[in-house]
Symmetry: C2
Subunit: 411 residues, 2 copies
């Protein structure tokens, strides 16, 4: 479908070579590193080949502009990110940037001329090198302060401000990265699903109607760390058994959510002291609850906290709740959803209208701008992992739908 065939696939493979840890088997390309800079430079050459005018803003977001016939009209933004987590896959984010370049080629080849300018973007730092993700889009949304740049540090203690300076960017110019909402008509992001909904239902393409946002918190159960051999069952205050009851309850409560779309996950558990012959005295559970329906999500969070307290009471233990992050879900813009759905129909595809459970730069911008997303299947739902995979024809289908969507939004 792309022309010449394979250009997109070759570009994805070439970008994967910008990798700080090839021995691990996956791709490690964290934002603001020399390796990231090299990858971004390569993306710039591809954007130039597609006839785009380039600029990089103060936070490192890269823009490539295809000027429309009405230069003053609000633009259509499309893009994603080319940074990765540690030992990640080749498609997360990258598809949304390189796929957008391919969509521009496709539209040019068709002789399409945009009325509104189309701006491609590679957002800086979608992955949470500095603890918080989506720093590029947060800066564009005006949600990042100069103080945040000093406060946010990576696992080596390097502040965002220091990393920006090392990358040749000026942290004091942060405010210049802000995008004024009236200058943007719509934003659309092409992305791999990172889930197994499309695969499970055998569907080729998804159009996102809402982006779920997480409410993350830590539950810390405190019982008594006693000798596993010397403490009879009746004299224990085993924090891990209490935490285990909570893990089972979290699944039950999330399944029973009124929206039917809430998910609740315990992804991190730490039992201390963590010796085979000691009853755990303290257990931390990091809980992630997400939904596009904020009210349903908060009802689930409240029920989980209530269940945890009852479990702790019944076991003569304490439980503390520590907030980690609470983000606001975003509804996609009906006009963007319609444009993407029409683009699918034009290609003979029936899209699955679905919620994005993962969060994206589009969610950050969606608080201020009309946004939408297009999903292609992810094999096995695997993401942030070397095994992340989407077949070439599925990538091409996503690009074709993106091109059709851009044509409708900018035409």
């Amino acid at each position: 479908m792309t022309d010449p065939p394979g250009r997109l696939h070759a570009a994805i493979a070439e970008l994967a070579l910008f990798n700080d840890d090839p021995a691990a088997g996956g791709i490690t390309r964290e934002v603001y590193t020399p390796t990231y800079a090299g990858a971004l430079e390569r993306v710039q050459t591809w954007m130039r080949d597609a006839g785009l005018e380039l600029r990089v803003d103060a936070i490192g977001n890269l823009f490539g502009r295809w000027a429309g016939t009405e230069p003053g009209a609000p633009v259509v933004l499309t893009g994603s990110h080319v940074d990765t987590t540690l030992n990640a896959g080749a498609y997360d984010g990258v598809l949304g940037v390189l796929g957008a370049i391919e969509a521009v080629h496709l539209l040019r080849d068709r002789g399409f001329t945009p009325r509104r300018s189309i701006e491609l973007v590679a957002w800086a730092g979608e992955e949470p090198r500095f603890g918080t993700g989506c720093v590029g889009s947060r800066a564009a949304a005006g949600e990042l302060s100069r103080a945040d740049l000093d406060r946010l540090v990576d696992r080596n203690g390097i502040s965002m401000a220091a990393a920006l300076a090392a990358a040749g960017l000026n942290p004091d110019r942060l405010a210049a990265a802000r995008i004024d909402a009236p200058t943007v008509h719509a934003l659309v992001e092409l992305h791999i699903e990172q889930g197994i909904v499309l695969e499970t239902h055998g569907e080729p393409i998804g159009v996102v109607t809402a982006i779920a946002a997480p409410h993350d918190f830590r539950l810390t159960f405190t019982g008594a760390a006693t000798h596993a051999g010397a403490t009879p069952m009746g004299l224990r205050r085993d924090a891990l058994v209490g935490a285990a009851e909570a893990i089972v309850a979290i699944e039950r409560i999330a399944r029973a959510s009124s929206s039917g779309t809430t998910v609740g996950t315990v992804g991190v558990v730490h039992a201390r002291p963590g010796a085979i012959n000691v009853v755990p005295g303290t257990v931390e559970l990091d809980v992630d609850v997400r939904d596009s329906d904020a009210a349903a999500r908060e009802a689930v969070v409240a029920a989980i906290v209530d269940a945890a307290r009852k479990i702790a009471d019944a076991r003569d233990m304490e439980v503390a709740v520590h907030e980690i992050v609470e983000d606001v879900p975003v509804a996609c813009d009906p006009a963007v959803v319609a444009a993407a759905s029409e683009a699918c129909a034009e290609l003979g595809l029936t899209p699955r209208l679905m919620t994005s459970g993962a969060y994206h730069d589009a969610m950050i911008m969606g608080r201020r701008l009309p946004v939408g997303m297009i999903f292609v299947p992810s094999r096995g739902g695997v993401s942030h992992h070397p095994d992340e995979y989407t077949a070439p024809e599925e990538l091409d289908r996503g690009v074709a739908v993106l091109a059709g969507t851009l044509a409708r939004l900018a035409g």
Copy 2:
């Protein structure tokens, strides 16, 4: 009770100064280190002060002999260990060595003359620096081979053989450390309980009738590591929820054990990949099941494995069982139990007849020799921790009971 008052307590405090990590707040004195050697040298001076003849065997076990009037008669052994875990307390093991020296003083002051020789022992390496604990008593029991000394390594990769050589011991003389069963009349070990049974029941002293042994194994649940946001509840194979059900089942199964004394503990849990936004794909649980009743213990282990398999089946997951260690419980010798009980009665104390849930050098030797143990309370059951504590009068009471027990066994 001791004379001069406080000598034992001063010695315990002084030995605590032999410490490789005082900044951590507790005591770190691993076997075969220079710090351990210094502590053992100080113990030797105290043994000499008590009129004992010293010898150190090939594995580093220290013996102090009070010759009896019948030098050829089987001896009475008593002792414990002066090595510690990392950041441990001052009493575990130490009481059984320094308390035995104090018991000798007590008996000498009373004008007691032993018929059988009394041999004090500080076993080398009760704590598992090299993964396996009780290496000194295992060598004495003939359960450690020369090949084991090369195979067993500490967390820094130092083999036991290398550690022995560095400590001036000859690993090739290992066989000389073996104690022939007919040369020993009985072994008695004074120890802190490391549990809260005495404290909970308000009892001052325990006489151990059996030493429970652990059957340790690892359960590894494998589901699918998928995106926490992008995977609906109905499409998950969450290894942690399955493992949590198993943790709850382990408590239930252990409580229902036919012996009434089985304990089952999950002390270690690892959920992978261990990110807040990823459903755990693999979870390892390290399970410890103990009882002095081997049949009851094995029935509990079988029921746990069965429950884990049913949980995994119901969740379309795999579970693997990996054996860690399976030790044999030991019944204490009725004559030693009787001698200790009489010693208590003589002091106006009613001992609690109890099982040792923790395992000790006495358990290793108990497979070959008549053994017994005397327990004093542990505040809060805390052990292997800087907060480990037994009150001075409780220590003295334990020493008095040990002295009375030795008098009966050696008299």
